[in-house]
Amino acid sequence: MTSPLDLFVSWLAPDAPPGAYNDWQLVATSTLPQWVQVTLLVLVGLALVGTFFGLSRVPRRTRVLLFTLRVALAAWLFALMLQPAVELRAVSRVRTRVALMVDASRSMGLSSQDGTRSEAVASHLASSQAVLSQLAERAVVEPMTFGERTHPVEALPSPLPTADARTDILRSLSEVSWQSSGRELGAVILYSDGADTEGLSLEEARRRAAKLGVPIYAVGFDDKDGSPDLSIQRIVADDFAFVYNTVTLQAEVRSFGLGLSEVMVTLKRDGTVMQSKPVSLVDGRGRVSFEFKPTQIGKQVYEVSVPVQAGEVVDGNNNKSLVLKVIRDRIRVLQVAGRPSWDVRYLRELLKRNPNVDLISFFILRSTTDLQKAPAEELALIPFPVNELFTTELPSFDVVIYQNFSYRPYRMARYLRNVRDYVLKDAKSFLMVGGNFAFEDGWYAGTEIADILPVRLGGAMPFDMADFKPRLTREGRRHPITRIGEAGEPPQAVYRRLPPLAGFNSSVGLAPNSQALLTHPSLPGNPPVVALREFDKGGRTMSVATDSMWFWRFPAVGQGGAGREFDRFWNNTLRWLIRDPALARVRLRVDRSVVLMGDPVGAEIQVLGPDYQGLDAADVEAQLVPVDRSKTGSARSVELVTNPEGKAVLLFEDVPPGAYQIKVRARKSKERIGTAREPIIVEAADVELAAPAPRPDVLKALAESSGGAYIDIGEALPDIDFKDARRVEVDRTRRIPVWNGPLAFLGLLVFAGAEWWLRRRADLL
């Protein structure tokens, strides 16, 4: 039966074969510029206005008829000017696409009731072939795998991959909605366990699913579907903490499929157990808080762990670590002086002036050999709190200064071990300043303090009262402590112009791993005046073998100076003792403090010369040392050489999970330049396996909010309902002009003739 459209087409284009066109539309074919068309339209409008006012005296009925005819004539003329044509079109409708998304993340490789989750998906797809084939007749089915993002494929591979390191369902859905092959998205079939790794909430899932505008048919797993697991979900703590201030570290524990009601959670620092707490689990979830006070500056590795349970599908998520950067609020300095003196006073004054220093001073103001001419209540003296200072309070100090101080009168022998451990184990700093109560005269030879001093005691010459100008050593010329001159002043020159020092504590020589910066110029062997020592764990000690450093402060002013050299010397000393990073010549910067298993452990090392410029061709020995050697094997070493910028890149591949210290040691020729260290964590579990339990609630939220349906993996795939596409494709067109035919002329004639007749009849001509 011939349709009206076919009749219309055959009338306009008699030569066209039947069925050649199935659509038509009216189009304008005028080539006049748009501004000309607009101008003509305006002019026609003005003419009509003039006509309207020109008919004001005509009877109303005639006026309306005349004006209507004039408007029709003007419209007809304007339409002809646009050169209208009928466009005959042959069009076809584009088929809707349906995205078939299959989760290919690592969690899909975990066991379910029927093999792995991905095997269950493959089985479900196989059993749904009839539905999918039927679907393919109405729509184009676009298969793809997804994880962090989508991966379109020609056909789903067999076996299904399970390699993606993350699952980002929303991002993947968003990509699907934007991917266009000229077809409209009609529906999404989503195979997933719902274990999103990006913290997808149910509210967000509902909101985004509704916005997608197409139904999502989500096929998922029951949350009781095997996969028993106990995990530390996350650790919450600030990025940094202040030393000796309470830090709160919270951990979230999740148990799944194990039926646990309580579990013991353990906190470790650098592999050492700090605290353990039982945590009650409600609906498989629990939260625990640990409070502690870090006692050391720097980056430290904290690990929270729960014991591995029998039958767990993943045991790598039973612990989680973080690197906590512990910083100092202020530099805590303990200054213990054997008696008041000018050297003590000017050092105290300098330290007190420094806003970054929290100074605790103890000066011995009176000994019992002194006369006691007043009762205690008339004296402002307090007991020397030896026990408190050198036991409980000692670790809270960053630097301890013994200034012309002897331990013996205060029965302190048993505390000297604490001071040694404070340096060796706690990696803190100790400074001994001279005077006749210091070094040998303080009876320190043979004590634990002698073990850590940079100078050797025992048999040294007596305290020498003569004046001397200290001599700068080769190391001293380069060291930041002894760079105290004015800008551009040669290092040696400043020591020549400063007043001579007086009073010297001699020593037998340097201790191992020590260096002298200033030496006595004339005594036999040139014993050190200023010497330094560093220990493996980072502790530092320094000796200043005179109590006349104040000569650089006050007598130097008498020579026309301002005492700035004294200030610089002690400020530099303090910065070195607290290991100010700005003074380090070996710097280590790790790419990331927490690395996922499988990723390389990388760091950049920079070695600086004495002038603090990059040092070329320095030898660097780098080690990756496990914090807990029993768990993660032995240390690895690598030798590097710095480039002209003093830099070298460090890379360790295939590092087993665990906490490590990267230690680097730099040398140039035979000079030991320095060391640096940084902690690093290689996480045993990737984020994909951190919370591997199925999340049917997420999939249900997506399905229900989008108008789709949630299907358990054990159920059959229903018919997929979607709207047919509105989009069409135009195969060919043909334009038939309608403005240059007799019909167009006839129209003009009718409107103009009718107006002429009417005007004549109304005696308006």
Binding site: G338, R339, P340, S341, W342, D343, V344, R345, Y346, R348, E349, K352, I360, S361, F362, F363, I364, L365, R366, S367, T368, D370, L371, Q372, K373, A374, A376, E377, E378, L379, A380, L381, I382, P383, F384, S406, R408, P409, G435, N436, F437, D441, G442, W443, P462, M465, L501, A502, T546, D547, S548, W550, R553, F554, P555, V557, G558, Q559, A562, G563
Partner: protein
């Protein structure tokens, strides 16, 4: 802090040598950081109590752990060695001739960069010629900083002894005065003739009567003198928090 300090071998030898030399005053060594008081030598009567400082230093070495050189060193403001003596004592009586410009500059530099000047009026005559000339001199040395009354709760009254009233040969003025430089008193001015209470002749007799308080007042003069020296050496040490509860308890 009051704990016995045993002598080292070396100290024992030094002190032994001092005893052999026949003068117990020689036992103290003069190390580079030991206390030496510079006795400011100016025109006019600059040393009306010649034995006083030595006696004060002797008391300091007997009562405190401070190591001293018992002989105060006369030093002129323009001497190159002025800056070897962070603590200067300036006694006097009668009219004080005008200081030279060089002396003024040197003293200003000394006090500004961390020195301390203890001024003691032997006249003990507020408004008298010495007082007037000292104030005139100080206006030239530190023109921007006025003399002010030292508060009674200042740390110099608790730097060693707990001192709650003035002392000296007389009690003409019930407070000390001082000039502050950078939150510390760089100048301390006493008008009660402290040195008059300290002075003792070679036969061990006190040179001046102390009125109205007698020997207790003399003892207090020594205590105040020791506190002022301790203040020069320790500054605000006794204002540290660790001392506060002890001191408050004893002052109740």
């Amino acid at each position: 802090m009051s704990i016995p300090v045993p002598l080292s071998r070396r100290q024992l030898l030094v002190r032994g040598a001092g005893l052999i030399a026949g003068s117990p005053l020689m036992v103290a060594g003069a190390g580079p950081s030991d206390l030496r008081i510079g006795h400011l030598q100016t025109e006019g009567t600059w040393n009306p109590r010649p034995t006083a400082l030595r006696r004060l230093l002797w008391e300091i070495t007997q009562r405190t752990s401070i190591e001293v050189d018992l002989e105060p060193v006369p030093v002129r403001p323009t001497d190159a060695k002025l800056f070897r003596y962070p603590l200067l004592y300036w006694g006097g009586a009668g009219a004080l001739p005008k200081l030279s410009e060089d002396a003024v500059r040197a003293l200003r530099r000394h006090l500004t960069y961390g020195g301390t000047l203890l001024i003691d009026s032997s006249d003990a005559d507020p408004g008298g010629v010495y007082d007037v000339s000292v104030r005139r001199a100080l206006k030239r040395v530190l023109p921007r900083a006025p003399l002010e009354k030292v508060p009674s709760d200042h740390v110099m009254y608790k730097s060693f002894y707990l001192v709650d009233h003035q002392a000296g040969r007389t009690l003409r003025v019930p407070h000390l005065e001082g000039i502050k430089v950078d939150d510390r008193y760089a100048v301390i001015y006493c008008q009660n003739d402290l040195a008059g209470a300290w002075a003792r002749d070679a036969f061990g007799r006190w040179e001046f009567e102390v009125t109205p308080g007698g020997e207790r007042q003399r003892e207090m003069a020594f205590r105040l003198g020791i506190n002022l020296v301790m203040y020069a050496l320790c500054l605000d040490y006794k204002d540290d928090l660790v001392h506060t509860p002890f001191i408050l308890k004893r002052r109740r």
